[in-house]
């Protein structure tokens, strides 16, 4: 408890989140630019401050003072409200996201459900931006974002459900949607060991939720030139940008909590906040670095390939994972059966995906050239 009054306490905690996240965004943009610089044999920002440390700050000031343009033909309220619809749900998700055993705004019993439900609302903002901009690139991008959401969201939810099923606490037994309880069950063994398949599905679907390579289809720079963001400038554009980075933090923290044992593993339960904070930081950073690394090394998939992958690979395997979990829980088999079966399924899924990609490369293409109209 920070303050005695529960309302005041909640407000203070939310205030801390609301202040900390923009700061994290500023740091993350700097980190991303530096890492991309390393990967591309550049220096990255070097001018503002030592090693360009204040570049993020300078950019923030620039974005805040930039003119906020709106195309004359844009649908005014749809256009202007879209950034808020994107940003607010992402921040809302932090209401119940625990960073350590007692560092959270509110520990909800249905926390996991709340986060998944709320973060899905963002898509409305993307579609609003795509529609309201009165720009065809934005329209294409918005439609792509919607198509992408329905593809990744279901495997993502199912992967999370798989974890929630096997979460264990001595008081409540199996099954929990409370994030603190889920992490408490991972004192000795993180769930990545029992549920590797769910972990990879979560990671891939999370990547799709972040619109990062290879799933940056809605904002594809070389195709739709930023997609829904194309007409935005100044503060509204930076709100989209902030939402993107904050959701990167959200997904990373969530992955750390659900699969890497959050603040518990490998220290065991009740290690004290001084050890728990660095531990969760390290795990979160790992995922953030992974996302940045992937962004600068992978090309982009096509929207239909992405949907195909989500519906034909991720979804069936996520369902299979849930069925196996149910089986193990009903018959009360030992935990290692979970790990073995899930690990085997992961290998099968990986092999099938690999073979599908290779087969597409090997099978002969019938060369064709469309003969159209007067051209030929």
């Amino acid at each position: 408890m920070i303050a005695d009054n529960p309302w005041l306490d909640g407000l203070v905690r939310m205030g801390i989140i609301a202040l900390a996240m923009p700061l994290a965004v500023i740091i993350l943009t700097y980190v991303e630019r530096k890492i991309s610089g390393r990967m591309q044999q550049r220096l990255g920002p070097m001018r503002v401050g030592p090693y360009g440390l204040f570049q993020g700050l300078a950019d923030t000031i620039k974005l805040l003072t930039k003119e906020d343009l709106r195309p004359q033909t844009a649908d005014r309220w749809t256009f202007e409200l879209a950034p808020f619809v994107v940003v607010v749900p992402v921040f809302l998700a932090f209401v119940t996201l625990p960073f350590t055993a007692d560092l959270f705004v509110r520990n909800l019993g249905l926390g996991l459900f709340f986060i998944i439900a709320v973060s899905g609302v963002s898509i409305v903002g993307f579609v609003m931006a795509g529609w309201g901009s009165d720009n065809k690139y934005a329209l294409l991008g918005g439609a792509r974002a919607a198509a992408q959401l329905i593809s990744y969201e279901i495997p993502l939810v199912l992967a999370v459900v798989a974890v929630a099923m096997i979460a264990y606490t001595p008081e409540a037994g199996r099954g929990s949607l409370n994030l603190v309880e889920i992490v408490d069950g991972q004192g000795r063994v993180p769930f990545i060991v029992w549920q590797p398949l769910a972990f990879f599905i979560f990671l891939v679907a999370g990547l799709a939720e972040l619109y990062r390579q290879p799933f940056d289809i809605p904002v594809a720079e070389s195709e739709v030139v930023g997609g829904p963001f194309i007409e935005y400038s100044g503060i509204r554009w930076s709100m989209f940008q902030m939402a993107e980075f904050v959701s990167m933090v959200l997904i990373s923290v969530l992955a750390a909590l659900l699969f890497l044992g959050g603040w518990n593993w490998p220290l065991g339960n009740g290690a004290g906040i001084a050890l728990q904070i660095p531990l969760i930081l390290v795990k979160t950073s790992f995922f953030i670095l992974l996302f940045i690394w992937l962004r600068f090394s992978l090309p982009r998939l096509r929207i239909d390939q992405m949907m195909q992958f989500c519906w034909q690979v991720l979804l069936p395997f996520a369902l299979l994972q849930i069925i196996i979990n149910g089986w193990v829980l009903v018959y009360g088999w030992p935990d290692w059966t979970l790990g073995v079966s899930s690990g085997a399924l992961t290998l099968v899924a990986g092999y099938l995906t690999y073979r599908a990609a290779r087969q597409a490369a090997e099978e002969p293409v019938s060369p064709r050239l469309h003969r159209v109209g007067s051209v030929l």
């Binding site: 290879p214 070389s222 600068f296 096509r302 490369a361 060369p367 050239l369 051209v375």
Partner: protein, 378 residues
């Protein structure tokens, strides 16, 4: 380019095809190319390519200045393969005038033209990587190595872009003393750079998934469209003017002509990658054989005057068959000069290659043609 409401079979909803304008300012149009896509959702129904934003009248301009001055206009057509286009022009002049350039000049020309080909293909690799979504990484790697080559060109010619270095009868001045060592140095870096690109892109599952089977062209169709260069070789035809109709001294070098099997976007990428390796081989052999001696043919007048007649000279630039058709009525200016642009012919197949594919595919197909708009529009 029509907007019409229609009812898709099996659906009650009336849908509309929208026109999406891509270019002339768009990150994926490689210059000032413009195309109007008619899309049905993500599917491309029609493509209307619009060129001409870069038209400068290079042919007409060349008719108004003497033969030496017009060399500069050749640089400005294909600005990624300037030495190759210059070479074609001076070879046309030499053919009509009957000038035989000295050995050393020939070797310098071949070395520079092949290095230029490597630089141009580097540019393709980088731009192609960006088109396909590798966020700048391919671009930075290719430009690292392209820059080294560019530095050498600057040392030799004093210019980074508009070299105007080749002359009818030889080259303008001799190369620096450390030319051989510098070239060897560059070849080492280039060989490593090609490996980097290969490692980054070739075996990537996503790239294979995106490019395999995209925009395939049969050899017959390719000939009908007048495709040349890597676009043609990707279909399986081993047609390379350096081998089919050796100009300069290309008959002395040993090199392979890489060909594809399916004529799709991925094959075009592979052919270009392999061509870079072959160019390295040619430069190595040329460096071995480069003699000392004069760099300009003997007994040339200060102003070049061609006898009456006409000539067609063609050579293999990184984009394909670059041709110069020149009519002389005597005197120091051409009566007519026509440039055959390889990228123009290759680009003409864009519509046929991309109808029925996705918007994202059209961007890649366009990238795989490797257009230089200055050359298309002339």
């Amino acid at each position: 380019m029509t907007t019409e409401y229609r009812v898709t079979p099996g659906k009650d909803l009336e849908t509309i095809d929208i026109n999406v304008n891509v270019g002339p300012q768009h990150p994926a149009t490689h210059g000032v190319f413009r195309m109007v896509l008619t899309v049905d959702g993500e599917q491309v129904v029609d493509v209307d390519p619009i060129i001409g934003y870069m038209h400068r009248g290079a042919e007409k301009l060349s008719e108004n200045c003497d033969y030496r001055q017009a060399i500069g206009y050749q640089d400005r057509t294909d600005y990624l393969a300037q030495f190759n286009t210059e070479l074609c022009y001076v070879l046309a002049l030499e053919k009509l005038a009957g000038i035989e350039p000295p050995e050393r000049a020939n070797y310098i020309r071949v070395i520079l033209a092949e290095l230029n080909r490597i630089a141009s293909h580097y540019m393709f690799m980088g731009a192609f990587g960006t088109d396909i979504g590798v966020f700048g990484t391919a671009f930075m790697y290719t430009f690292r190595d392209r820059e080294i080559i560019q530095d050498l060109f600057e040392e030799v010619t004093g210019e980074r872009m508009m070299y105007a270095y080749f002359r009818a009868g030889g080259v303008a001045w001799d190369v620096p003393n450390d030319f051989r060592e510098r070239c060897r140095e560059i070849l080492g870096a280039v060989r490593k750079g090609i490996g980097d690109i290969d490692g980054l892109m070739t075996d990537n599952e996503v790239i294979i998934a995106r490019c395999r089977g995209l925009g395939p062209v049969t050899p017959e169709d390719a000939i009908n469209w007048g495709m040349t260069g890597p676009m043609l070789r990707a279909t399986g035809l081993a047609h390379d003017l350096r081998r089919a109709e050796p100009y300069c001294i290309y008959d002395r070098f040993e090199f392979d002509i890489p060909t594809g099997t399916r004529g799709d976007v991925y094959d075009r990428y592979l052919v270009r990658l392999e061509e870079m390796r072959q160019s390295v081989r040619i430069v190595e052999q040329a460096l071995e054989g480069m003699p000392e001696g004069p760099i300009m043919a003997e007994g040339l007048k200060r102003t070049l005057r061609l006898p009456e007649g006409e000539v067609y000279m063609r050579n293999e630039t990184p984009r394909g068959e670059y041709g110069i058709y020149l009519i002389s009525k005597g005197g120091d200016k051409p009566y007519r000069l026509k440039i055959r642009s390889p990228a123009f012919s290759n680009l003409s197949a864009l519509r046929a290659m991309s109808i029925g594919s996705y918007v994202a595919d059209t961007i890649i197909t366009l990238g795989s043609i490797d257009i230089v708009l200055c050359e298309v529009d002339r």
